[in-house]
């Protein structure tokens, strides 16, 4: 009996051994759980980002990787500085050259001593509110792009950080009155800024900027209309993209914010270049121009030389009350 039992045990043992030997090749061939798994480089190539699920409340952190910040970095540190530098320094250089060759555009017929209202108090208030905001926004914005290489080495980390902190607050909060100003500018001057045939002639004659030409113009000439549309369209773009950046994730994710920053900064530096020209022509560039936004009244001779058709309109509307208008043909001299 005992020998039979031993035989059974032996038989089982042999069977078991056989099984182990047979199964051995199968067990050395490991299961590869990564065969079907996601691959980092493949995901990046397909979508340029890797996204998944997170169990923490902040669902935005489900984006694991988004290497496109590299292109944005290149734009922010290299491309933008070139665009901004060329646009702003280029504009300043052009204006200096222009001022040195042409000088101030003088009132050819001198001052008449009589004035006409060009901008009402409200119009001037809107202009100066927008302009003040713009200058602060421009300086604080340029600080973000150019401050680190230009200003930081001069004043040191602490002072530069303190200044930049306040500049950022100013930039964020003054965006609101600036936006209101752009909207009001759009509404209050839209009537005079629709392009018409007079603008074509004005542009053909180069706005009379070279020589002593005075092409006729209504209340706003083609150059001023350009400034108007730069303010309206440029201001609209910087406001829209700026608010997108101020309220992250309300409108878009990181890619959208990178794009918004690109639009915001490029439009802004071109806007600054255009406004430098606007400031030039409104101050030292042209005699009698500043008064329009200063006191709101311009000399009749200034109006006749630069906005002859507007003066005619005004004279027609108000009648030849105190000043006999010069012949209309004076405009085409």
């Amino acid at each position: 009996m005992a020998s039979f039992g031993r035989f059974i045990r032996l038989a089982f043992g042999a069977c078991a051994l056989l099984l182990v030997i047979m199964a051995a090749p199968a067990s050395t061939q490991q299961v590869n759980p990564t065969a079907s798994s996601v691959k980092e480089q493949q995901l990046l190539q397909e979508l340029n980002r890797i996204q998944g699920r997170v169990s923490i409340p902040d669902q935005r952190s489900g984006v694991l990787e988004q290497p496109q910040g590299r292109e944005w970095r290149e734009f922010r540190n290299v491309t933008l500085r070139w665009i901004g530098g060329v646009a702003i320094i280029g504009m300043l250089a052009l204006l200096v050259i222009f001022y040195l060759t042409r000088g101030m555009v003088r009132l050819e017929s001198g001052r008449s001593g009589r004035t006409i209202v060009r901008f009402t108090l409200f119009e001037r208030f809107v202009h100066w509110m927008t302009a003040t905001c713009f200058i602060i926004l421009a300086i604080s914005g340029l600080n973000i792009t150019f401050g680190r290489p230009l200003l930081l080495p001069l004043i040191g980390f602490e002072a530069f950080s303190e200044w930049s902190q306040w500049a950022k607050y100013a930039h964020n909060y003054l965006s609101f009155p600036f936006t209101v100003g752009v909207v009001l500018i759009f509404l209050q001057w839209i009537a005079g800024n629709l392009p018409n045939k007079v603008d074509v002639a004005w542009i053909k004659r180069g706005g009379g900027i070279v020589g002593h030409d005075h092409p006729p113009a209504y209340r706003f000439n083609a150059g001023q209309k350009m400034i108007y549309w730069i303010v309206v369209i440029g201001g609209g773009l910087v406001a829209a993209t700026g608010y997108e950046l101020m309220f992250p994730f309300y409108v878009s994710g990181i890619e959208g914010m990178q794009m918004a920053q690109i639009i915001h900064s490029v439009v802004a530096v071109l806007f600054v270049a255009a406004m430098i020209a606007h400031i030039y022509i409104g101050t030292i560039g042209m005699e009698g121009a500043f008064e329009a936004m200063g006191s709101g009244e311009v000399d009749l001779n200034w109006a006749r030389e630069h906005h002859s058709l507007w003066l005619d309109e005004q004279s027609g509307r108000t009648g030849p009350n105190d000043q006999k208008p010069q012949p209309v043909t004076a405009a085409a001299e």
């Binding site: 680190r148 964020n172 909060y173 992250p248």
Partner: protein, 198 residues
């Protein structure tokens, strides 16, 4: 000097989120901010992978490059840190970061985001090592005490590795060799411009 790096062995990560919790607790990270999180890709599908991710302390860090006030610095150990005293909360580092590491305590509040917060590799900030000020702003400075980041130290499956890049890469390579598979060091190509062949 060592070049400190993180490496998440995605084939070992079980999405227990203990690293996330440990980090929050160790540094008393403000509400709403997670310096580390675990992302699960293809959740519930075959081939699903979980990866624990925080600041990778990149080589030539994009955050440092775009910062308008230059508040970032890299320590001798290759850890990317920043000064909350200099930070103006502009959000630029967060546009540039490939890993979504920079976060702000007040996101979406009129752009007054507050000072940026991110993983410090348990290395604190510019204040004196182990000082109260340092702890309040950046959390514990374990590195100064000769300890590695807590998230990796307490990882139950030893999926998350922290330490000198060469050494953790070697550990990972040995693992891959032994078990015969590995889905690679996630984020390394983006952060360090190198991968670990497996």
């Amino acid at each position: 000097m060592a070049r400190m790096k993180f490496l998440c062995d995605a084939d070992r990560c079980i999405e227990c989120n203990a690293c996330v919790t440990a980090c929050k607790n160790e540094h008393e990270v403000p509400w709403g901010i997670n310096r580390r999180r675990v992302v699960t890709i293809n959740d519930g599908k075959p081939g699903e992978r979980s990866i624990s991710m925080a600041c990778m302390h990149c080589t030539d860090a994009p955050c440092a490059a775009v910062c308008p006030v230059n508040c970032f610095y890299t320590t001798a150990d290759g850890v990317v840190l920043h000064s909350k005293d200099l930070c103006i909360g502009c959000g630029y580092c967060f546009y540039a970061c490939p890993f979504g590491a920079p976060q702000y305590p007040k996101v979406g509040n009129f752009g007054s985001r507050g000072k940026m917060d991110k993983c410090t590799y348990c290395a604190g900030g510019p204040e004196a090592d182990g000082s109260k000020e340092e702890y309040e702003k950046y959390g514990a400075n374990r590195l100064a005490e000769g300890k590695l980041p807590l998230c990796a130290e307490m990882c139950s499956t030893k999926s998350l590795l922290a330490g000198d890049g060469e050494i953790i890469a070697q550990i990972y390579k040995e693992r891959v060799m032994k078990r015969g598979y590995g889905s690679g060091a996630w984020g390394w190509k983006t952060a360090y411009r190198e991968t670990i062949e497996s």
